[in-house]
Symmetry: C2
Subunit: 146 residues, 2 copies
Amino acid sequence: MSRKETINWNGCPIRYAASVFADRWNFVILRDVLFKGRRYYGDFLDAGEGISTNILADRLSKFEETGILTRHQDAKKRSRIYYLPTPKALELIPIFLSIIDWAERHDEHTEVPEAFIQGYRLDADKTIADTEQLIALANAQVTNIQ
Amino acid sequence: MSRKETINWNGCPIRYAASVFADRWNFVILRDVLFKGRRYYGDFLDAGEGISTNILADRLSKFEETGILTRHQDAKKRSRIYYLPTPKALELIPIFLSIIDWAERHDEHTEVPEAFIQGYRLDADKTIADTEQLIALANAQVTNIQ
DNA sequence: GTGATTCACTTGTAAAATGCAAGTGAACTG
DNA sequence: CAGTTCACTTGCATTTTACAAGTGAATCAC
């Protein structure tokens, strides 16, 4: 028996976040964008995680709708499509670093590099800034800025 | 989420975290445990989010398996069941505060109290400690510690 | 120029997860 | 001891996902 009350999800920050990215494939895609420099549709497929093409297309278009990613055509080969993180996506970095920190402490099979996590624990702001730098580099590569 | 694949995530922390809590109902349950003092099975149902009894039971038992919650009988009324957060769950507090911070900035309908979020931005560690205190109080209430 | 290939999806369908309503049994209450 | 509370479980319809196979536009090879 479900005892239902008025459903009011409005304004709850956790519910809002859940609606944007609380899903295992969303986690993987955001990891790829924020930490692995992946930008092309094909990059996400080949990441070895086994995401299906229809699910990937679905998640990418939802990330467009929610303002996390923007979709672009490659300048030199227009059939290639890349996705860039928005500022709203960059602001997820602290969340994901915090998740990495937590997982490193609780997953006995973790492969988080020792130096990385120690650097983060010593100076989180620096790790955030470094991550932003790497993201900017990855963006520059696909947008062919010289 | 509930597929029996425990293998080949290669120690990736984001994948690990995804396997433990990347799901909308998991987000809601953890919010209830960490910030709203909910402990009883019935509390989660009556939270107004509309979770079904079978899904709630499924998620609670998975949180037991993953070491996030522990299940207990109420001392005075043994048919009542409560769930307590483990240290592993408490260590999720920084993640969830970070999520609240992000959502507050991007959800135009946010209802995060101004004072709360400003306090967090001024001194995150204090907000984490305060949250731990409130959790300890909520735990003490159901365990009847005097 | 044309046929093959790359690329980013879309479509079809079976399997799995979810949502909803009802049921169950143990524990408590009057 | 009959009725109620409680924490689930069960059955079933709907929705979502996974997997495989297209599709059509763009590019490449010759």
